[in-house]
């Protein structure tokens, strides 16, 4: 498996990279971790004429807290996310999700920016970011712009990123005390794309009433899906078997999985319901401490 020939650039600054994107036009692709792009190029499903390697650009790999926001640089690898104490403290679901993404070697290279910018509903971070109400920062020739995660995914491999823009950072609001999160996906074997995956973040008050809920679904919809009805079914109510069942039912109804080798549409809907239930329970348990 060998890619078609291309030209390679490795700019040292973001401005340089953006100007190259403008210069080379649609035939240029950004290379970050490359673990989605290079496999597609080896199969010649992607045949860019230019690769612009942004790995040499400083300032794009970080995990830091600034005020009420956690900022994750686009070039942060899955392994760095997996081992970040800061993320572990605020978002236990990152430990859940990174363990289930591909394998350790891939996680050493694959980046969170690439995972999101690929626009693939089979990837795991889209659902996570939906659950966490993240904001995507894109940088273009006009500077930075913020894209709420709900406006980021447009279609199969399509995102709100314009040509000439580079995803540079993900910002996640630091949740209040009493918040818990969890992620799980069913996979045919370790490292597989999800048969179905569910990310949940819940904030509970001292009485156990759900103040806020975020639920994202992996690989059961053409574009990454927020389970909005499920979130509403929980918000403002105590977490009970009844509200959980309701949330699970809505998520199963609202997604649109396709039948494939991983299972039938019906199976996947049923699995969404099971996982929504399990992840709500797990997130609630974590929220309660």
């Amino acid at each position: 498996m060998i890619a078609q020939s291309f030209q390679y650039e490795s700019p040292g600054t973001l401005a340089e990279a953006i100007s190259m994107l403008h210069k080379y036009g649609e035939e240029a692709k950004i290379l970050s971790g490359g673990h989605s792009l290079i496999p597609m190029m080896k199969l010649r499903l992607a045949t860019p004429e230019w690769l612009i390697d942004i790995n040499g650009i400083p300032g794009l790999a970080h995990i830091k807290k600034e005020g009420a926001v956690i900022k994750i640089g686009a070039l942060t690898t899955e392994a760095e996310i997996e081992h970040s104490d800061l993320l572990k403290k605020h978002f236990p679901l990152f430990a859940d999700v990174t363990k289930l993404i591909a394998d350790p070697q891939v996680r050493n290279v694959a980046t969170i920016g690439g995972n999101l910018a690929h626009g693939d509903a089979a990837n795991d971070h889209p659902a996570v970011m939906l659950a966490l109400n993240a904001t995507v920062i894109a940088t273009g020739s006009g500077g930075e712009r913020s894209i709420p995660i709900d406006e980021f995914f447009h279609g199969f491999y399509m995102t709100a990123l314009q040509h000439g823009e580079i995803l540079t950072e993900i910002q996640i609001p630091v949740p209040p005390a009493g918040t818990g999160s969890a992620y799980h996906k069913l996979e045919r074997k370790v490292g597989d794309y999800a048969t179905a995956g569910v990310a949940v973040q819940l904030t509970l008050d001292s009485k156990g009433v759900c103040k806020a809920a975020g639920i994202g679904l992996t690989n059961v919809n053409p574009i990454p899906l927020r389970a909005s009805r499920s979130e509403k079914a929980l918000t403002g109510k105590p977490i009970t078997d009844k509200t959980i069942a309701e949330a699970a039912k809505y998520a199963a109804e609202d997604c649109s999985p396709s039948s494939d080798l991983r299972g039938s549409e019906e199976y996947k809907r049923a699995m969404v319901a099971v996982l929504v239930k399990r992840m709500i329970n797990k997130a609630a348990e974590r929220a309660r401490g």
Partner: protein, 168 residues
Amino acid sequence: MLKKITVTVNGTQHVLEVEPRLLLVHMIRELLNLTGTHIGCDTTSCGACTILLDGKSVKSCTILAVQANGKSITTIEGLAPEGGPFTPLQEGFKENHGLHCGFCTPGMILRATELLAHNNNPTEEEIRWGISGNLCRCTGYNNIVKAILYAGAKMRGEALPSTEPEFV
């Protein structure tokens, strides 16, 4: 257009002119003739091509040689001097029958090298997840896990576990 890159492989610096599309694994095997790094798939699945890139285990079939510019690479040939002494992992694999055909072994050992560098006292479960990006079709993994546990004990300077086969 060829790109000039500088890479340090097993401690030796090489300046190479490469096509941008040249995969790192092909650079290692074809240009540097280090054939201990193997190719077992075309989908980043099997881990036979695993090497250390600046100390991190990566699959060299999914990285371009140009991406390794300025970096340091360790392959199986660079772990220990020819003829030994072995690293704890090489010894662990030999003593515990952690290999059959040997094809996955270099990748498996390099992956485990990083695993133990992070945590030289992993649980069996951590080892199994830690090598989940490396396929072995021969051993059934029992003895690979045992080999890594052995190497961990050796690195910690503790008494070495028995290398006799355990029968029920």
